[in-house]
Symmetry: C3
Subunit: 351 residues, 3 copies
């Protein structure tokens, strides 16, 4: 970024208090910003750092009026920051040149949209379709008869297996695997016989999958991730899972086979969901929880086995009092024995 | 699949009730099946969906006699479905053409069995051995002096490091890493000095390893996975772990260094096992549990720290009553104080 | 290894008791060692296995005097073993020939140090810098404008994204991803809008990252791993996390965005840390714990939500007594009711 306070104010529809000609080289947090960087106040807790920040200028709400550096006032600081980040992104990651790298192996039968980018050592197998503007980065792999929707990006070393459907404008981060075999075996005596996994995976539009996450294909039918859902890094999604629209699944979470998530569900980091349950629309699972039963729409659950959040909070709060409670029970037993002794003439032996 | 009810009945040794000439295009669950698909009843809980299914025919046990669509009666529905899935699999994934892709780099010293397939951008380093019928998919890597047993499949972007042994008929799913360094450091003052990991990994026959799982090489000696054991996605197996035969390790589980599993052990999803413990033959660890001590053969454990399952169930059940129990303790203290006051003439101050 | 007891004693500054000419072919544990192998006693618990070991010789402290096989006495057995492992490592993994493999694609603008190794199918994008002696193994990828410090090793199929800094003598294990996008979305109505992640990742010197781990780039600024810190396999590190020096993060742990670790922190396996908290210098998080609040320096925490270790131990210990405690509360209620009845003339109805 190489711009001025005035240019950024114009970009975000803001008002400048102070010198609009001050040059800006980047964006950073109020404590981390160094000379030349723009910082921001989106949360009043950070106001106290305004005096000591090294930043060259600060962006904040219309209420922010008083600073020793130029101020950019805006209506919605978070939306303004989003716009600035989008601009920085464009500068840092210029659009790739369309075209197939000489070392990329795209089968002659592949249906290629306009402006497709295929980087070095990319492989696209027979019968697949790449929509307009698809980007396949170095080492990405697309198996047979798969479809990658327009505008989708497969980062370096992503694997999309055969017969998988990826929607439009999806982002698959580095090392993600879409469509590996589900984990299904039938025990015959001691041996485990593999159950062929002949289903598929369908990712909707605007889905993001994090680095090194894995989404298994269905035994039959499809494992589904709905439009707009976002999956973080190192997430495991078992066969025949169905995830609704606009869900958030945070890092290192795991969802066992055939579990169904509604729309707008949030799964916290490292949470685990057992198989064959349903998580209702708008429900949330707290980080680290283990969910063993279906969760009603809108409900937040916590703990392992997960229970309704407020109840879980009380249970865990009371656990902290338990060592003391055990001492109080012992004391009560002694007091009762004493009372019983006094009433009955001789103390009872209560040990 | 493009077949008929009669042909499927012949394949699975079944009896047709109804029209054997009905055409079938696929297999699906009783709720998910669409026109032309075969469905099945392997679990009586799903019987109620038989009336409303869109399927063209249904496969079930010899007791299934009444449906508005053709029925295929079999002795063992699950085994019949397995056979049908195997047939579909063969149609969907035709055998690969044997041969080394022009972009694959197989060192001249590599011992190549008959019918080996090495896909695009595969690398096999010096001194390794590939058994008959080994399949290495695009981007798979085999380090120096490793052995891949006959019939084993390394899917796209699998890494097998140097001096590793993979048995016969193993399946290594996409992105799995076999033989990376164990996590061993010796503290010298503040610094952590790497302990060279000079051991290896030995996978037995018929082992499956899931997508993006990692199995570390031993410090010395070997990390071992026994014949027939199946490991799901995103599983971490530390150095010098020894897993017996026909074990099941579910997704996102983690087993710390030098822990030993007997035969037929089941490790649930996201379970964690500390290092240097033993899990006896036939033992099970419930999903999400954290195991800190050895587990006797045949025992099922649950919770963190994991305890015997029934006891763990009681502990967690009683935790739900704890908030109420704390209230009851408080009430008891008041009642005792009241009783003590009545007996002693003046109420004691017990707060 | 093909050496003698005498040569190993010379290597480690040890004293031989017995036949120094005995040949040694390897190093192994006291129970696992086979004929020809050297074993060792670094822990007196294993002394009992000395009588039955198949090893050809044993290394131990100066106190070890009595064995039926040759003894190598040393001052510090663990350091001696480290030296022997380093020697074995050198034999097993001979230095690679410097040079760029013909199939490696290193952009002409890349600044190449001396003795760089780039294996088959490596890609290094425009504007990056590879320090002296950097090793990039097969399929490793380095994005644009990144810096790999001297002596660092990227194992097969590692991905280092654009604008990332890797220090000197780092080891990135197979499948690790450094610099994928942080997981940041802004909700606009139902939709999740991606927040561009324009920051970077900075790994210090002597950092190790395990197989298939993922370290996200910062939203802005940097995600940082300090000098000498070691990260195990399948670890997830969110955007803007800052890890100090000489920390240990064990397998399958997950650290959410913006959390800060001091120096010499230990994070146990599968532990999870919520975002925006601070873990003080020298603190430890027990394996499997879920940390929801900042942890003071030097403190060890345990459980979920994690509490100070000793307190957590008491809480979980008391949980085991809870089923019994509930029975005792019920008994006390009956006894109080009985006492109240006796004092008041009629038993109270206390149900």
């Amino acid at each position: 970024m190489n711009t001025t306070v005035g240019e950024i104010a114009a970009l975000v529809g803001g008002t400048v208090l102070g010198d609009a000609s001050v040059r800006l080289t980047g964006l950073n947090g109020i404590r981390e910003a160094t000379a030349g960087e723009l910082t921001f106040l989106a949360d009043s807790r950070y106001l106290r750092h305004l005096e000591t920040t090294q930043a060259a200028a600060v962006l904040g709400s219309r209420e922010l009026r008083d600073a020793s550096i130029p101020i950019i006032q805006v209506d919605e600081p978070r939306q303004a920051i989003l716009k600035i980040l989008q601009r920085i992104q464009k500068e840092l990651e210029p659009a790739l040149e369309p075209g197939i790298h000489p070392t990329a192996l795209v089968h002659s039968s592949v249906h290629l949209g306009k402006g497709v980018v295929a980087g070095p050592h990319v492989v696209v197998e027979e019968g697949s379709t790449l929509g307009d503007g698809v980007e396949l980065h170095a080492g990405a792999y697309v198996g047979r008869d798969s479809r990658i929707g327009p505008g989708s990006v497969l980062h370096a070393n992503v694997t999309v297996c055969s017969r998988v459907t990826v929607g439009a404008r999806c982002v698959l981060n580095h090392g993600a695997v879409i469509g590996s075999d589900g984990f299904g075996f039938a025990r015959h005596g001691d041996a485990q016989v593999k159950i062929p996994q002949v289903g598929t995976v369908i990712l909707g539009d605007n889905v993001e999958v994090g680095a090194n996450s894995a989404i298994d294909r269905a035994t039959f039918g499809a494992t589904v991730v709905g439009d707009g859902s976002k999956i973080d890094n190192l997430v495991q999604i078992g066969h025949n899972v169905r995830i609704g629209k606009n869900c958030i699944v945070c890092g290192s979470a795991a969802i066992a086979g055939s579990t169904v998530l509604g729309d707008n569900v949030t799964i916290g980091g490292q949470a685990g969901l057992t198989g064959h349950i349903e998580i209702g629309d708008g429900a949330s699972v707290a980080a680290g929880s283990g969910v063993t039963k279906s969760v009603p729409p809108g409900c937040t659950v916590f703990g392992y086995p997960a229970v309704e959040h407020e109840r879980g909070r009380r249970m865990h709060g009371s656990l902290r009092q338990l060592p003391d409670a055990l001492r109080r029970i012992k004391a009560l037993e002694a007091r009762c024995a004493e009372l019983e002794g006094q009433l009955h003439g001789t103390p009872e032996n209560d040990s």
